[in-house]
């Protein structure tokens, strides 16, 4: 039986792991290669690396970091952040990523996912959706550029169309919950779950095994978190033990 995944997320800026709240107030949190090794040993099922470098030089560094992490990491590696073209995505795959997340660029050019999927297969293509509750209506809209651009696109429809656009997986981040440590947006997860059969990774707001349990019950196939690992030193294996006690199928290593 397919197990549910626990996925630590490393935010990378100019070759270093950083951490912050709502994409702001970043501070250094260590070496990506050392952290990747530690997370794998601690039971991570997969790693996500998000490159938040704002400069060309920073993005070039990210390719080197992907390669360095790949050399030591025997589990899947998904890389995203600022991927704007098929060429950039393929560079990341060649450097050692197994999957590439596309976010803003998919909004600007929805044909990008299909073009990439035709070349590398849909299973390498992740549609990253940052969803925020609408301010003056019910539902959620897609936001881009670290939340500064509210696109007006309905997040549920966007998720529904992900598969036909060429994606093989959805990374669904709640912009409202991200960094709050008050749990995932389970209402958003349930809505997205009801419109797609693609695997969905829940992101944004995790602070406990209970939050993860709630997200998995709401239909997530995997749960992504950052601060619970960085700040508290909780390990994926500890969380898995708690989830397993509550009847969630996880890989016990």
């Amino acid at each position: 039986m397919l197990t549910r995944r626990i996925i630590p997320c490393l935010d990378i800026e100019n070759g270093r792991v950083v951490k912050g709240i709502k994409f702001a107030n970043m501070r250094d949190a260590g070496d990506p290669v050392e952290q990747a090794i530690k997370y794998e040993l601690d039971g991570a099922d997969e790693l996500v690396m998000l490159d938040i470098s704002a400069t060309v030089r920073g993005r070039a560094t990210a390719l080197e970091i992907v390669h360095a992490v790949r050399c030591v990491l025997p589990i899947p590696l998904s890389v995203g952040g600022g991927v704007r073209s098929v060429e950039h995505a393929i560079d990341l795959l060649h450097a050692g990523a197994d999957k590439v997340g596309i976010n803003s660029a998919a909004v600007d050019n929805p044909g990008l996912l299909r073009e990439l999927a035709d070349q590398v297969g849909a299973q390498c293509v992740v549609l990253s959706i940052d969803a925020a509750r609408r301010t003056n209506a019910i539902g959620w809209e897609v936001v881009t550029r670290a939340g500064t651009n509210r696109t007006g696109i309905d997040a549920i429809e966007w998720a529904r169309d992900a598969e036909s656009m060429g994606a093989g997986e959805i990374l669904l981040t709640s912009f409202d919950q991200d960094g709050t440590r008050s749990g995932y947006d389970t209402a958003l997860l349930k809505e997205v779950r009801s419109v797609t059969t693609l695997p969905v990774i829940a992101s944004g707001g995790a602070d406990s095994a209970q939050h993860m349990f709630d997200a998995l019950e709401a239909g997530a196939d995997a749960v992504l978190a950052a601060s619970i690992f960085h700040d508290q030193g909780t390990t994926p294996n500890q969380l898995k033990a708690q989830l397993a006690q509550r009847g969630i199928e996880v890989r016990q290593s």
């Binding site: 397919l2 297969g121 299973q123 390498c124 093989g168």
Partner: protein, 199 residues
């Protein structure tokens, strides 16, 4: 885990996650080369056929580099070959993913899509034998074909996790991404294939 020293030749069709496959063998102490030269693939002591992407693009890549016959010959002569994910599927007769496209046909099976009742593609860790393997696939073989031994996993019913015959090992999962369990499987394949290889 003690290191092995072996020469691994990865069939580079341009449609595979060769960085991950290459890194996994290097961690075991192997020297790794990538090639699309049919002569080098034919003469390799240990060859790996990886693959991601569609069945049609994989077959097109094999045929355009004259690699199809060489891979068939390796399996028929029991020269060590490891097929990974699409690499397993390409060894089969056909795939529902790409109707009308002939596979290599050395495994007498047709590849079909997972039923609509389960999450597709299957992304994640699923039980195989005594451990867990990482899968990333929307298509699979439903039954172990005659003439092969192997193991099944479960996702909307049983499906083939891996097939084995002589020194040929074909995995639906990604051993290169399956942690220590996967690394151990690769190491065992290298050891048994080296010993039993008639090539």
């Amino acid at each position: 885990m003690t290191n092995t020293s072996a020469q691994i030749t990865i069939v580079d069709t341009g449609v595979a996650n060769t960085a991950s496959v290459s890194a996994s063998f290097k961690r075991l102490g192997c020297s790794v080369s990538l090639t699309n030269d049919p002569d080098l693939v034919r003469d390799a002591p240990l060859a790996v056929l990886p693959g991601v992407g569609s069945f049609a693009s994989g077959m097109r890549a094999l045929r355009s580099h004259a690699l199809a016959e060489v891979v068939i010959e390796r399996v028929q002569k029991n020269c060590p070959l490891l097929g990974i994910c699409l690499g397993l599927q390409l060894l089969c007769v056909s795939s529902e993913e790409s109707p009308g496209i002939d596979g290599l046909g050395v495994i007498n099976a047709d590849v079909t899509r997972f039923p609509t009742s389960v999450r597709t593609p299957q992304h994640g860790w699923n039980r195989v034998d005594d451990g867990y393997a990482y899968y990333s696939n929307a298509y699979r073989i439903a039954l172990i074909p005659p003439g092969w031994s192997g193991q099944l996993s479960e996702h909307g019913g049983p499906f083939v996790a891996y097939l084995r015959r002589g020194t040929t090992l074909a995995c639906q999962f990604h051993p290169e991404l399956s942690g220590a369990w996967g690394a151990n499987l690769l190491k065992k394949w290298i050891e048994t294939a080296k010993e039993a290889s008639p090539c």
